[in-house]
Amino acid sequence: MSPSKRGPSVSRSRLAAVGVLAMALGVAVPARARDGGAQVGPQGVVTLDELLARFRSIPGLFARYREDKHIALLAEPIVSEGTVHYAPPRRMARHTRTPSPSHVVLDAEALRFSDGTTTRQIDVGASPVVRALAESFLDVLAGDRAGLERSFVVDFHAGGANRATSWRLALVPRTPALLAVLTEIDFDGDGLVVSRMRIREASGDEGVTTFSDVDVAHRYSPEEAARTFRVDP
């Protein structure tokens, strides 16, 4: 067993403490300003700005998901399934059906989550670490390039996999505090359909989420929105 698996080093522990403390104190960690490099593909291939502009125009999103989370502390990966929802301008929900019901709702103000018995609320605006963890996917769907580049160096490639409309977006943390937690988040997609999200953690753990039944033209009626974007549905 390597030392890193038995426990965090002091420096990593302290850096990660920034995240936990951020959750607890609402402490923000400054993101150093650095130019993120959005790659512009060859002519005829979608660029990051074009893709994000198209995301900004969608009326809403519905998808089913399956997440396989490989955590070294666990003998078996955690597999969870459920649905994800997005409604502009910045509302997102994830309702997990299995292995046990849980709910996560994220909006411009806070991240709320519930396991059916307890509910917690985190002020995401106060902490870039928490914001980055919670909002990376939301920033993609909201077409918020500035939001992405606040915490990550953005790497975008389009036109791979023999399809002009396919793309890969990789996000690498900018700050040591975030790097102490995350190594990379990357998304694979085709057109407006995000098919896969992979989160690689500093610990070596990895979570892969695959999406199906993706509906990028989903319009949430007020009633459905009220039902969907709450942690106690």
Binding site: L21, K69, L73, I78, V181, I199
Partner: protein
């Protein structure tokens, strides 16, 4: 000698406006001391600044810039506008290594259950859920060394302690609405050190102007702090002093010129005033180190008392036509002056027994001032009087008119009787309507705009009922923390019972060493704990070997319990400041209360704890002032008996003694009755005014009675009384228009009372004299 004293005063003069001088001592001395210490503590030295900006980022940026600039100011001890990496690292260093010491503040109850097989399984399941949750990567970083998530729970407690009122943006504190950046700062000087606080407020304004300019305008600064209220009060008192001093001096000079037609008398009239004021200030500075603004105002009122002696002397000297030299003329009225001064001092010294240091200072100041004025009248005035006074027509005429009026009054005693009867009727109607208000706010003028700003700024920062708190006193930090642990436990029960909505305690940051050890020992005493926990982890699908052993994580002794001193020496010191107060050689820990339903039920919960005080500052002061008012009324009654005895020693005849004594008493009663009929609630400062009227009114009556056997002098005495009354009303009447409620109460009582004293004094002689001379 006067010049030397004046130089001493000039060199040493420090004026203060500390309201704690009006906090009582006596039966509640401990509470009173505590309130006084709180009033000087770091809590009272803390200011809260709120910078409003168009958006959250701008608010955070502006508050950071303001905080950075103010941190360089030598008058400012500390500034906190956010929680930088230093704070975060310190929190990790202090708490992560002590996570088992802070596992539970009810260790025997909570940890027994949590460390049972069932509890451990629940913890393992909770860890798994947290790892799968949206913030799983953060949890993952700690999980191997803290599978029970004790550190995160501790940090959650810190978060909860903030009441959700403040958030951080770009490391800066911002209000919940995201539009106000918040800066806390502590001043080096106490909140009542007016000069230093004026510098601080000026520096804040200047720094904000620069920050606003750099931001291109659009920012708005609001702030609060005890110092701001104090500065406003001090400014108000200073303005009143200036106005009273200037206008009354001008008025009295004009009065002298009208009555005596000579600049010489104006100059000579100043001698008792200057002597009285200089001696009083020197005595005040020597005894108390500084002089309260209210004492100075009270002292400046001596202008109406000290000058009476000179006026009485001048009128007698200039009106009498018996060719006496200045010395002889003075000696003829000297017994009356001495008796007047003695009764004045007898009335004032009553204040010296009051439980308020401020009132004691007033008593000393005034007594010294009155005696110095009397002695300077005796020895400093005669040598400078003109050998042959020039008769003044106005005086002669007034003297004749008043002399004739007196004779007419003596002939129509029944008509004169109407005066006291009218006074008594007013008393009968008004005295039952007298309504005493003991609320301290009746003595302090609070600018409504400042009060509203205070409410706005406080509401952005924390939810707490102003002036309501629990104070725990211990011989040292540890003793105080141990009591505080118990207080918090009971306050939680109060919250559960709905008696209280919230409270903020240092308990969120640190517990007693004993409680921390009790928490830690729960992880060391069971040798099977590690094995049982590994089994629980395995049952939940974890790989136990991926975790540090429980002994390594939680049972190790580590750095030992966290102390208040550790926190005070760390970057978290600013978090502790609002809670800890040095109370002499003791330590007081303050817990603020928010949303109290009924303080009595809270007090009942904590009633059996030694040296734990549930304080409602306003109610305490109200109760204390009420008791002091009652005590002062009793002292006045005793003082009246003493004054009557002194007067009777002089006159030996009851009717004459009553003639010297009753006018002031009736004047006071009529004054209070009139105020009551006008719907004015009375407070302690009205009572101080009563004392002054009794003292001065007795002087007037004594001067009249002294002239009873010299009809040729009676007219002169009445002239001197009118001049004295006018000068008194000039000075006190102006005080009555003060914005400061305390000064206004004092002024209106003294002004109205002296006027009535002058009316009642000759009437009393007419009615009570045994053989009226015609």
């Amino acid at each position: 000698m006067l010049a030397a004293l004046a130089l001493y005063v000039q060199a040493k003069l420090v004026v203060r406006s500390d309201i704690t001088d009006f906090l009582p001592e006596g039966p509640d001395r401990r509470v009173s001391q505590l309130l006084r210490q709180l009033a000087e503590s770091e809590i009272a030295r803390t200011m809260i600044l709120s910078v409003e900006a168009p958006d959250t980022h701008a608010a955070a940026h502006a508050s950071k810039a303001l905080g950075d600039e103010l941190a360089r100011n030598p008058d400012i001890a500390w500034v906190r506008s956010g929680a930088g990496p230093g704070v975060q690292s310190a929190a990790h260093d202090l708490y992560f290594s002590r996570r088992s010491y802070f596992a539970s503040d009810r260790p025997e109850q909570e940890l027994s259950s949590r460390l049972s097989n069932e509890g451990l399984r629940a913890s393992a399941a909770a860890l798994k859920a947290a790892l799968a949750g949206p913030l799983g990567p953060l949890v993952r970083a700690f999980a191997p060394a803290d599978p029970l998530l004790l550190f995160q729970t501790r940090m959650d407690r810190l978060r909860a302690a903030q009441d959700d009122a403040l958030h951080l943006e770009d490391e800066q504190l911002v209000s919940a609405d995201g539009r106000h950046g918040v800066v806390f700062l502590g001043t080096r000087a106490g909140p009542f050190e007016a000069q230093a606080q004026a510098r601080v407020v000026g520096a804040i304004d200047a720094a904000f102007d620069r920050v606003d300019r750099d931001a291109g305008g659009g920012l708005r600064l609001e702030s609060t702090g005890v110092n701001r209220f104090n500065l406003a009060a001090q400014q108000s008192i200073s303005d009143d002093i200036q106005r009273v001093s200037v206008v009354s001096t001008v008025g009295i000079v004009v009065l002298f010129l009208l009555v005596f037609r000579s600049v010489r008398y104006v100059a000579l009239g100043l001698i008792p005033l200057v002597a009285g004021t200089v001696c009083a200030m020197a005595a005040g500075l020597a005894l108390f180190g500084s002089i309260h603004g209210l004492t100075l105002v009270f002292g400046s009122s001596l202008i109406g008392v000290g000058i009476d002696y000179a006026e009485h002397y001048f009128v007698h000297y200039t009106v009498s036509r018996d060719g006496c030299d200045p010395e002889t003329s003075l000696l003829r009225i000297w017994p009356g002056l001495v008796l007047g001064a003695i009764t004045t001092v007898a009335g004032l010294v009553g204040l010296a027994w009051a439980s308020f240091p401020g009132l004691r200072e007033m008593a000393v100041f005034s007594t010294v001032g009155v005696l110095a004025a009397l002695l300077s009248t005796r020895w400093l005035l005669p040598p400078f009087m003109p050998k042959k006074p020039k008769p003044v027509r106005l005086q002669q005429k007034l003297s004749q008119v008043l002399g004739r009026a007196m004779i007419a009054m003596m002939r129509s005693r029944r008509a004169v009787l109407l005066l006291p009867i009218a006074g008594l009727i007013l008393c009968a109607l008004g005295v039952p309507r007298v309504h005493w208000v003991d609320d301290v706010s009746a003595l302090i003028a609070v600018d409504p705009a400042l009060a509203a700003e205070d409410v706005r700024v406080q509401s952005r920062v924390q939810r707490a009922d102003p002036g309501r708190f629990v104070a725990v006193v211990g011989r040292d930090d540890e003793e105080a923390l141990a009591k505080n642990d118990e207080v918090v436990s009971r306050l939680r029960a109060a919250v559960s019972a709905g008696e209280l909505e919230t409270f903020h305690s240092v308990h969120d940051l640190v517990w007693s060493a004993d409680l921390q050890r009790r928490s830690h020992v729960m992880f060391t005493r069971d040798p099977t704990l590690s094995t049982r926990f590994e089994a629980a982890l395995a049952d939940e699908g974890f790989v136990p070997s991926a975790f540090r052993s429980l002994g390594e994580s939680y049972a190790a002794a580590g750095p030992g319990p966290l102390t208040l001193e550790d926190l005070r020496q760390s970057p978290l010191a600013d978090f502790v400041r609002p809670f800890r107060v040095a109370a002499g050689s003791d330590v007081a820990l303050v817990t603020t209360l928010g949303g109290v339903r009924d303080l009595a039920t809270i007090a009942a919960r904590l009633g059996d704890l030694h040296d734990v005080f549930v304080l409602d500052q306003r109610a305490f002061l109200q109760d204390a002032y009420g008791r002091i008012r009652t005590r002062t009324l009793e002292m006045i009654a005793v003082g009246l008996v003493v004054v009557f005895l002194i007067v009777h020693l002089r006159y030996r005849r009851v009717r004459l003694s009553l003639a010297a004594f009753l006018p002031a008493v009736l004047a006071v009663a009529t004054t209070l009755a009139l105020l009551a009929l006008l719907g004015t609630p009375l407070n302690l400062m009205h009572l101080v005014g009563v004392l002054m009227v009794l003292s001065m009114g007795a002087d007037y009556a004594i001067f009249v009675v002294e002239s009873r056997d010299h009809p040729e002098e009676l007219g002169a005495t009445l002239v001197s009384l009118i001049v004295a009354m006018l000068s008194t009303v000039l000075s006190f009447g102006l005080l009555g228009m003060s914005r400061n409620p305390a000064l206004a109460a004092l002024g209106i009582t003294a002004g109205l009372g002296t006027l009535l004293s002058v009316v009642f004094a000759p009437a009393a002689l007419v009615l009570l004299r045994e053989r009226p001379s015609e």
